[in-house]
């Protein structure tokens, strides 16, 4: 219970995400910082990026990202820097390596498979099945109807 309350407090602290004092003077650099922040997870929050989060740790990370950018790092260098410290858990966009390949390929692969099955089904449905022959009762009934 206490943990839940703490999490809520962290979540909804009155300050909002990016503070005015964090914003970089160079708009191009700030833009990059925002983009990078959107892909980094706030570690103490539940599924929020540091760009959205109000937690102190998220603020520290935002400042760290900006620090690295001002120091002249490229985007991928900043990401590597953060991942080296906090692990890949911090990445909201899972890396395309190792087992994660399954995750990334699953969509296109299952689309191909489903399209294949769908196409096979459609081909099958083009074949006209001969209607089943009438059994004796049905034939009798049909004759009655036609006679009427």
């Amino acid at each position: 219970m206490i943990r839940a309350v703490l999490i809520w407090l962290l979540l909804a602290a009155p300050a909002f995400a990016v503070q005015p004092d964090e914003v970089l003077d160079d708009p191009a650099l700030e833009e990059r910082a925002r983009e990078l922040s959107k892909g980094l997870r706030c570690l103490v929050c539940r599924n929020e990026s540091i760009d959205e989060s109000n937690a102190d740790l998220a603020r520290d990370l935002r400042l760290l990202v900006r620090e690295r950018l001002v120091a002249g790092d490229s985007d991928s260098e900043v990401i590597d820097f953060v991942v080296a410290r906090y692990g890949e858990y911090v990445l909201l966009r899972p890396r395309t390596d190792g087992a994660n390949l399954i995750l990334w390929i699953a969509g296109p692969a299952s689309l191909l498979a489903a399209a294949g099955i769908g196409a096979a089904y459609l081909r099958k449905r083009r074949v006209v099945h001969a209607p089943e022959a009438l059994n004796r009762e049905e034939a009798e009934r049909l004759r009655q109807i036609l006679d009427d």
Binding site: A12, R95, G107
Partner: protein, 657 residues
């Protein structure tokens, strides 16, 4: 006393559900009519008992009876009356009772309006529905009983989570649950049909209105939740790909697929076994959703009950119902024979493509949602799957869907020709390209999101217009208008729902691409410019609400020297819950929202202020509401009421064995 009565009727409802599960099912297999006839009164009784039980819980909240544990932990005397009532389902136990009530309500509806179903089939449907009820009532009574008393009641309660004290969130759960639980009806129809071993056109017609009802409520529920996030979380995000959101989105996608494939079953007697599978899976995703939300197995912003024991129980329910239904499916589905024959270019094929895209998209969302669990269990990798993944992996399927939709919806059944179908669509395509080009110019070529999204949205809307134009036939405007009024409601529904999807597409693309944001420190009296607007912070004052204290800013928004709006963004603190919330102030418009947020006072004077210009934001939810409206129109189609009963005693069904 009333609380005890509510508790008692809850247990009684459980007993009734047990009877309703066993007796009609047994009667149906033996052909005993009197046993089958038990189903209807039992369904009605179960509903009435649960209704009383739910009313008793509402009474406990309204009367602030703090000897009830649930009321103590979720209510407070100072809370406004409406939130005392909605607080009933703003927690795990109460919302589970609402879930069971809706489950019983659907059972009762099927009993009241199922007069056109064959007797044996109806008995089985109601028995399967009752079995779901039994599982959830047992879950409620044994792990999350809302009626437990406290030995030493406190003087006052702990208040409801302030984020939930909001009109948007107050009505978001009921809609969502009608959607989730409504899919149990499709599930019951599917399982009963598998037991019966017969799926025919009539089955497609019976299952569709129930799915439609569930789907349209799910649409409204998701839209409300998204709208709430937009204005409440303080920065105007509307979708976060959070596990809990995905939990509601997956059943929605599958239900959308089911709606379309049921049409093929009804009109063409094809895709039967696939449709049955979808009906089972749609409810399966509802169950998985309940598990995700209530077990805490996946970290999420809005999971509200994290109890491993409940999680295990819910996983058990999911495993039993899905395992049972899928086993039955594996055993019986092979015997289902498709009748309809059609060419590769036909409406049937388009609907198959719709189903392929929706099913694969659902699978991608599902895999992304549970991937952190899988990666940790198998490879011991702790990783996250967030919005960047879903945006990249999910969006292409929706775009493909949007591309084929207008073509598919006017393709004829059985066999069509692309050239002929495209003839009336050329102008829609040209208009869509024009809209895309305009978006490109307006956005000065910054990103492709806006032009592509706007063009697809326009393609859907204009395509729906062409669809409607085609349906009204040839001749002059007067003829067309006359025919339009006589058009089946299902056609109206289709056109409206498809256009709604286009509106949502457009809104999402425009908002994502063209949003303006401004973060700054402003002193009272200071004016600053955001886009075409001049925003002035007039002042900040302290205001006391019924159960909160607010820091309220007064801000004016002007354009060209003329005031457009005067807004009062707030920052509230709820002392009892010890929680702050931000209340953004929004000037809603058709073409843009001006969205203002007040932040903290700064050390050297002034206030942190955030301003957003959000173009076409409301189109996102307007589109969802239009989609739901299409669902309502379709639901009132005459054939669901009349033709369904025209089917005489079945004699030519498809045998399963």
């Amino acid at each position: 006393m009333i609380v005890e009565l509510g508790h008692f009727t809850l247990i009684l409802a459980f007993a009734v559900a047990l009877v309703q599960m066993v007796v009609p099912m047994w009667g149906a297999s033996k052909g005993w009519r009197s046993w089958m006839a038990v189903a209807e009164p039992a369904a009605t009784m179960q509903f009435v008992l649960l209704l009383f039980s739910f009313a008793a819980l509402i009474w406990a909240f309204v009367a602030s009876d703090f000897s009830v544990r649930l009321v103590t932990s979720n209510s407070h005397t100072a809370k406004p009356m409406i939130y005392k009532v909605t607080g009933v389902w703003g927690n795990h136990e109460g919302s589970m009772l609402l879930w069971c009530l809706i489950l019983a309500f659907f059972g009762a509806l099927a009993a009241w309006f199922g007069g056109n179903l064959p007797e044996r089939f109806r008995a089985r449907v109601l028995a399967v529905q009752a079995s779901v009820g039994v599982a959830f009532l047992a879950f409620l009574i044994f792990t999350s009983n809302p009626f437990l008393r406290l030995v030493n009641p406190p003087m006052n309660g702990q208040d409801l989570n302030p984020l939930l004290q909001d009109p948007g969130l107050a009505f978001h759960p009921p809609f969502l649950y009608i959607g989730y639980v409504g899919l149990s009806m499709s599930f019951s129809f599917a399982v009963a049909a598998l037991i019966e071993g017969r799926v025919d056109a009539a089955w497609g017609r019976w299952v569709r209105p129930w799915t439609l009802l569930a789907w349209l409520n799910l649409t409204v529920g998701i839209a409300l939740g998204s709208w709430w996030a937009y204005y409440e979380l303080g920065w105007g995000g509307f979708w976060f790909w959070d596990p809990v959101e995905n939990a509601s989105f997956m059943p929605w996608l599958i239900a959308a697929a089911l709606l379309h494939s049921a049409i093929v079953v009804e009109k063409r007697e094809a895709l039967k076994s696939w449709t049955i599978l979808l009906a089972i899976l749609a409810f399966g995703f509802s169950l998985i959703g309940a598990f995700i939300v209530r077990s805490g197995v996946l970290t999420s912003v809005h999971a509200f009950a994290n109890d491993p024991e409940r999680g295990v129980y819910l996983l058990g329910i999911t495993a039993i119902f899905m395992g049972g239904a899928l086993t039955l499916y594996a055993a019986r589905s092979g015997g289902m024979q498709a009748k309809g024959v059609f060419g590769v270019v036909s409406r049937e094929s388009a609907l198959v493509a719709n189903n392929v895209l929706l099913a694969v998209a659902t699978f991608v969302v599902f895999l992304g949602t549970i991937w952190p669990l899988i990666a940790e269990m198998i490879w011991a990798r702790k990783l996250s799957v967030g919005p960047p993944f879903f945006d990249a992996a999910f969006t292409p399927f929706m775009m493909a869907l949007a591309v084929i939709l207008p073509i598919g919806s006017i393709l004829p059944w059985k066999r069509g020709a692309i050239g002929k179908v495209m003839r009336p669509l050329w102008w829609a395509l040209a208009a869509a390209f024009a809209v895309g080009a305009a978006a490109w110019v307006f956005g000065s070529g910054r990103s492709l999101v806006a032009p592509v999204g706007a063009a697809l949205g326009a393609w859907l809307v204009f395509g729906a217009a062409v669809d409607f134009w085609q349906r009204t036939g040839r001749g002059g405007l007067a003829d067309k208008a006359g025919r339009a009024t006589r058009l089946p409601r299902a056609d109206w529904g289709r056109v409206v729902a498809h256009a709604g999807l286009g509106v949502t597409f457009f809104g999402i693309a425009a908002l994502t691409a063209w949003q303006l944001e401004d973060i700054r420190v402003a002193n009272p009296g200071e004016t600053f410019q955001v886009g075409v607007y001049d925003v002035t912070l007039e002042g900040v004052r302290r205001v006391e609400g019924p159960n909160y204290i607010s820091t309220m800013a007064e801000m004016s928004v002007a354009r060209g020297g003329e005031e457009v709006a005067r807004l009062f963004p707030e920052k509230r603190v709820y002392p009892v819950a010890g929680m702050p919330t931000t209340e953004a102030a929004i000037d809603n418009g058709v073409f843009r929202d001006v969205y203002l947020v007040i932040g903290d006072p700064q050390q050297d004077g002034g206030w942190a202020v955030r301003t957003y210009i959000k173009p076409f934001a409301n189109w996102i939810w307007a589109g969802a509401i239009i989609m739901a409206l299409g669902g309502v129109l379709s639901l009132t189609d005459r054939r669901f009421r009349v033709a369904a009963g025209a089917r005489k005693a079945p004699s030519t069904g498809v045998p399963a064995e």
